[in-house]
């Protein structure tokens, strides 16, 4: 059979098109993305917030139950070195947690009151504004300041931006410092920043945050600020509560009753 050059080129072109076309459509064949969202058990809110009663918290001296529960459920490493430590929730003296509330005549028991600190899940989070990869963002539906550890490049801009020191960087491989690994949650790796996530994965399963559940004094109240008449709103209306560094305009969602 003799074919002309023109016919040969035509046939080649058509067959190449057919092959590439098939290649292009192949991956779409089975990719069915689900549209169904969270399970009906999930706890949802318009704006999650927390009220911590420092007096109730101080009733049990040297209690670390909330911290232990948090660390266990999120595989937070326990590194005994200030330069490398990872903090999700920790205790600090009142005078350090609230430096602007300090005065020289303040009662000693207030000064040294242990204050429970964690990510404030700010309504106006400066960490989110500076993140170059959107590895941290404010979840629109409930105000949780989320972290995507897959996307974090470890630039630590967020750590510089956070006025509360709520973020920690993994300078060393954290796995070796986790006494008991919890398979329900991933660990992190060297080179990423991590922080409290308000237990968003527990909320999705209908559970309260681990620290709230673990507190023997019920010193931590977790609720929705968007619902008028909710328990947290009632508490904030009846008690005087303060926030850390409110003058910065970050609008923290963690309130403290002193």
């Amino acid at each position: 059979m003799i074919i002309s050059r023109k016919k040969f080129l035509k046939l080649t072109g058509i067959s190449m098109l057919a092959v590439t076309g098939e290649r292009l459509t192949e991956p779409l064949a089975g990719a069915v993305q689900s549209a169904s969202s969270e399970s009906p058990r999930a706890l949802t809110a318009g704006r999650w917030a927390m009220v911590i009663d420092l007096k109730k918290c101080a009733r049990e001296e040297n209690c670390t139950k909330c911290i232990d529960a948090c660390h266990l459920s999120h595989n937070v490493p326990d590194i005994d070195n200030k330069a490398h430590e990872i903090k999700w929730i920790w205790k600090e003296e009142f005078k350090h947690a609230f430096p602007s509330a300090h005065n020289e005549f303040q009662a000693k028991h207030i000064e040294s009151l242990p204050a429970l600190l964690l990510c404030n899940h700010c309504d106006n989070p400066p960490c989110v504004r500076v993140c170059p990869t959107k590895a941290t963002w404010k979840r629109e539906e409930d105000g949780i300041v989320m972290m995507d550890w897959h996307r974090c490049i470890g630039c630590r801009y967020c750590m510089a931006a956070c006025p509360y020191g709520s973020r920690s960087f993994n300078w060393i491989e954290p796995r070796q410092y986790i006494a008991e690994q919890n398979p329900d949650f991933p660990t992190r790796t060297k080179g990423v920043v991590e922080k409290c996530t308000f237990c968003e994965s527990r909320l999705a399963k209908g559970k309260l945050p681990a620290c709230v559940e673990a507190c023997p004094q019920n010193a931590i109240l977790f609720g929705d600020l968007d619902v008028a008449g909710s328990e947290i709103r009632q508490l904030l209306e009846s008690e005087y509560a303060i926030r850390r560094k409110p003058e910065l305009g970050t609008k923290p969602e963690i309130f403290y009753i002193v």
Partner: protein, 132 residues
């Protein structure tokens, strides 16, 4: 034609060198197809075998985006079965209980570098092994 023997010898050496990777693998037995351990309790993965074989990495990336960024935690398959989106607690815990006998088999056969999933996500089998 005095060089005939030399030419044949040269050809033989050339053939030996060119086919060395194949003969080496045959001799070492590493050229055989991976022997996968399939789950006992399930016959059907979340999508068809062909799709999983070619695109499981894309599916895992879609799962990751859905779960972390869109708060979608359930995956509905083409034939309407629902799965909790989780590498450790669905893929590994429910079916492929041994990463070493499933994931690693193909990955090492195909020369795929160990995916960095496992830098953070926990392999329950390994966790159990290290606990012992």
């Amino acid at each position: 034609m005095r060089d005939r023997s030399l030419i044949y010898l040269g050809l033989l050496v050339f053939l030996a060198v060119v086919t060395f990777p194949f003969t080496y693998n045959l001799a070492a037995g590493s050229g055989s197809m991976p022997d996968l351990e399939y789950p006992e309790n399930e016959t059907q993965c979340v999508e068809s075998k062909e799709f999983m074989r070619s695109s499981h990495m894309q599916l895992l990336i879609d799962w990751r985006e859905a779960m972390v960024r869109e708060n979608v935690r359930t995956y509905t398959t083409g034939d309407d079965r629902n799965f909790n989106i989780s590498l450790t607690n669905t893929c590994l815990a429910q079916c492929h209980t041994s990463k070493a006998d499933f994931c690693d088999q193909c990955h090492s056969y195909a020369g795929v570098q160990e995916p960095y999933c496992w830098d953070c996500h926990i392999d329950p089998e390994q966790l159990e092994r290290s606990a012992r």
